[in-house]
């Protein structure tokens, strides 16, 4: 029982904390843990190469790119933005909850990039949320407006994170499948993806409730701080 291979874990942590290029950090971490375990260089390179080839299913998602790229060239994002703009008459809470649901469903279908902070939150969702807040008579001081914008950004993150894992071609699902396959446990990606559904539903419920609470608190102007 040797603790030296743990140096590889230390390299991963140090590399990510120091913001080195993640791809390089990961390669170096593998080399370090092998050298620390006393694996000869030739065997180590072979291990690295073989593991890489065995995990090549994780790049299969690139096959979705030509279709999605072409749809984007022909206005897929603009169309998604039209949908969001259609939420214009909603109250603050309903606007953000509708966006959360839309973002989750789009992510579940693999359309993770049609929305996002630069694509939809900054140009659309944030100003629409501020306008909805103003219509409801929520006090428009700078702090409140910033809180509304922050909540809009948080809503985008929650929708993306807890939708995408239901799509089988996403890196997370293939990473889980690949890890198990190396350990001798054969699973179909769909089995894994479906088990992301309970958390996806819980994420929608929890965040929707929070949106409703925050908007109620803002309307009553019982703001701490």
């Amino acid at each position: 029982m040797s603790y030296w291979p743990l140096l590889g874990v230390a390299v991963v942590i140090a590399g990510f904390v120091l913001r080195r290029n993640p791809a390089l950090v990961v390669v170096v971490a593998g080399l370090v843990s092998g050298i620390a375990a006393g694996v000869p260089v030739g065997d180590l390179l072979a291990l690295l190469g073989r593991s890489f080839v065995e995990n090549r299913a994780l790049l299969l998602f690139v096959l979705t790119l030509p279709a999605i790229g072409m749809l984007e060239r022909h206005g897929l994002r603009e169309r998604a933005q039209d949908w969001i703009a259609g939420f214009r008459r909603l109250t603050l809470a309903r606007l953000l909850i509708a966006y959360l649901g839309l973002r989750q469903v789009l992510s579940m279908l693999g359309l993770t990039n049609v929305a996002g902070h630069p694509q939809t939150v900054r140009p659309l969702l944030a100003p629409m949320a501020e306008a909805a807040a103003a219509r409801e008579g929520i006090d428009a001081d700078a702090g409140t407006r910033a809180e509304v914008r922050a909540l809009a950004a948080a809503t985008d993150n929650v929708g993306l994170f807890f939708g995408e894992d239901v799509f089988i071609a996403i890196g997370a699902v293939l990473l889980i499948q690949g890890f198990y396959a190396r350990a001798g446990i054969e699973l179909e990606p769909l089995e894994i993806a479906l088990w992301a559904l309970p958390t996806a539903i819980a994420a929608f419920a929890i965040h929707a409730l929070r949106i409703a609470w925050v908007s109620r608190r803002l309307r009553r102007k019982e703001r701490p701080r």
């Binding site: 291979p5 590889g8 874990v9 991963v12 942590i13 290029n21 993640p22 791809a23 390089l24 990961v26 390669v27 971490a29 593998g30 620390a36 375990a37 180590l44 690295l48 190469g49 073989r50 890489f52 080839v53 995990n55 299913a57 994780l58 299969l60 690139v62 030509p66 279709a67 072409m70 749809l71 022909h74 206005g75 897929l76 603009e78 039209d82 279908l109 359309l111 902070h117 910033a146 809180e147 914008r149 922050a150 993150n157 929650v158 071609a169 293939l174 990473l175 690949g178 198990y180 190396r182 350990a183 699973l187 089995e191 894994i192 088990w195 992301a196 309970p198 958390t199 819980a202 929070r210």
Partner: protein
């Protein structure tokens, strides 16, 4: 019958196209990156077969190629090409012309995958389309091809144009596209060099490993903690799985691997909501939205993240054993 090795060769050919497109445009680093990456896809089976036969040099050469990919990644820049007005107007016009039909080809990817998966119950020749191993992945590849043909029809464009758009998306992801695959590779290397055993041993010194709940809590909070420190749940996954998930929860306590993997990863995502290390999601938007507090987005996420963490732990406790 379509087998998974055919699919890998198609991926390899697409990467070759992307490599040439970049080289021709004078972008040498991305061109080299995709070109080197194409090799394990075009010759993957030959590399593994050579290893089985005791010839190690192809695997060693691939290992050297992986090191080269890491070095190239460190030198490549994530540059998003400027969006000119003409392109924006053209996209707007197309969006208005085609309308919601734009979403249909994208819908075809998950839909056709699931349909094909059920096709073992369909009569011949449909049931012969997909091979027996890695069925989902082969079905996914067929679905991508169907979606592309559908998208070609909907947008009235050509196959080379589709490859060009695919290359554009690939370039915009750059090395980030490769990160999950590299992390899975690291997981395999860690397993082979005894990292998992070392972590499991350390964990055994701290918690009573004969108790399921203690192991589950150590796994869940380990996922969150590692994700917060590294800003990336993908990086935390192989470490926590090799150290706690696989040896203790699955092998010793008989946890269900599919459920543990899926919800375990999503437990890590709760950590992503909490950390400034995940700058793209938590810090960049604070700047984009001109928030006075750079941690404003994280503050807005704390309650959701902690509530969901509790739900995930409860779900795992109820479902995996």
């Amino acid at each position: 019958m379509i087998r998974i090795d055919h699919v890998y060769i198609v991926v390899g050919l697409f990467l070759v196209v992307a490599a040439f497109a970049n080289l021709r445009a004078g972008r040498r680093i991305p061109g080299l990156f995709w070109g080197v990456l194409a090799l394990p896809f075009l010759f993957g089976d030959a590399i593994l077969a050579a290893h089985e036969a005791g010839t190690e040099w192809p695997a060693q050469a691939t290992g050297a190629a992986v090191v080269l990919l890491g070095l190239l990644a460190a030198r490549s820049r994530l540059a998003s090409p400027a969006d000119d007005d003409a392109a924006v107007r053209a996209r707007r016009a197309e969006a208005d012309r085609i309308g919601n039909r734009l979403f249909l080809p994208a819908l075809a990817i998950p839909l056709v995958t699931v349909l094909l998966l059920g096709s073992s119950k369909l009569p011949a020749p449909l049931d012969a389309l997909v091979g027996e191993r890695q069925t989902t992945l082969v079905a996914l590849a067929v679905a991508c091809a169907v979606a592309m043909l559908f998208a070609l029809r909907t947008t009235r464009s050509t196959f080379p144009a589709a490859l060009g758009e695919g290359t554009r998306l690939l370039d915009s992801m750059s090395w980030a596209a490769l990160l999950p695959m590299l992390l899975a590779t690291l997981g395999s290397v860690f397993a082979a060099t005894g990292v998992g055993e070392a972590i499991a041993h350390l964990v055994g010194l701290v918690i009573p490993t004969d108790q399921r709940l203690a192991c589950l809590l150590a796994f869940a909070f380990g996922m969150v903690l590692f994700t917060v420190v590294m800003g990336n749940a993908f990086a935390a996954f192989p470490v926590m799985m090799a150290g706690i998930g696989l040896p203790l929860l699955i092998r010793q306590h008989g946890a269900d691997p599919a459920i543990l993997g899926a919800i375990g990863m999503l437990t890590g995502y709760c950590g992503t909501l909490l950390t400034p290390m995940a700058a793209n999601f938590n810090i960049v938007p604070a700047v984009l939205l001109e928030l006075p507090d750079q941690y404003g987005v994280i503050r807005a996420q704390v309650v959701t993240a902690l509530g969901l963490l509790a739900v995930n732990v409860a779900l795992m406790w109820l479902l995996v054993f």
